[in-house]
Symmetry: C2
Subunit: 198 residues, 2 copies
């Protein structure tokens, strides 16, 4: 990218200026899948790999969103849609900031994910479906949530008593039942390279 | 900063890792003041200067917040508080991302500004009171808002029929009636240098 070709709109620093400074493009890697599918694990490892490559990253997940920005939201269908809407808008800001942004959320509703996609350009939105059967996810149960569902302590759980709408044409599918973490990370990093984002 | 001293908490990339990659600390520069005080102008110029210095920046303002994340909010006192709460939480994420973050919002209520301050460490929150008399601001009227107030088309306007609570101990005061833009920018950049943030 040639800095000379980057216009200064109203004298403001633009996305292209920030990408130039960083030395790479920015995009949103959206990890969707059931609880226990491995979204969080994979996204943590992808971020670590990208950081080791000297790239500028940030990761949004339940830990930093539900305790902060979205602490006023519960788990009704309406609140879950608002949860994803806000995360989408914040992700767009991070992409504008020139950051390779990773977001790991169940995001069970196709319409909500398509809204996030609509905020960005084609090459900036990368939907990554992290796939594992509900049986496998319930067996892993990293947060003990499936156990709570079994005990009747938790309702509206995606894949159990609330739908998880499988992505129809995600940019990447990761099968965590048959692919190792390292293989999964490599596939995602290679995708970014192939798309000339990094 | 020595990368060796930076711990990898749960294998995740941390704020310190991102700051190390960027080569500078991160902080939130919070510009508060009446409409027309010069917040937006000064913050645009500060960001431009920081970017020219090779630093990693992002700017939050009405343009990218009110049209996106906070498009569901109006201008009631409750909604204005929620507006600032969300901006504060997003700013915290940007500071976690290692970015020198600039936020330019009237933010008339002390309690709201103190909430944002509470989200960050002492050295990370820099309140910049951009000062000009209401007469000067109304005379500049860059967005034609004071004219609308005069015509009775706009209500709850800070400094007119809604309070603007002057910051009691801001880190920096910029007097745009007596300081040039260049002088103002220099003062803010020097503050960051003196605090060893950049």
């Amino acid at each position: 990218m040639n800095q000379k070709n980057i216009t200064w709109h109203e004298g403001k620093v633009q996305k292209a200026n920030r990408q130039h400074l960083n030395g790479h493009k920015s995009a949103l890697l959206w990890f969707t899948g059931l609880s226990g599918s491995g979204k969080s694990t994979i996204s943590v490892e992808v971020e670590k790999k990208l950081h080791e490559l000297g790239l500028h990253t940030f990761r949004l997940d339940g830990d930093n969103i539900r305790r902060g920005l979205n602490r006023d939201l519960a788990f009704s269908e309406e609140d879950r849609t608002e949860n994803i809407r806000r995360i989408g808008e914040v992700s767009k800001l991070f992409v504008d900031a020139g950051i390779l942004t990773l977001a790991a959320f169940i995001s069970p509703f196709k319409e909500d994910r398509e809204f996030v996609r609509s905020l960005l350009s084609n090459e900036e939105f990368i939907e990554i479906y992290v796939q594992a059967s509900i049986e496998t996810c319930a067996g892993r149960d990293p947060k003990g949530l499936y156990e709570k569902v079994r005990k009747g302590e938790l309702k509206n759980f995606s894949g159990i008593d609330s739908p998880y709408e499988i992505p129809e044409s995600p940019e990447i599918v990761i099968d965590t039942e048959n692919q190792s973490i390292d293989e999964s990370v490599l596939r995602i990093v290679n995708h970014l390279k192939n798309k000339r984002l990094i």
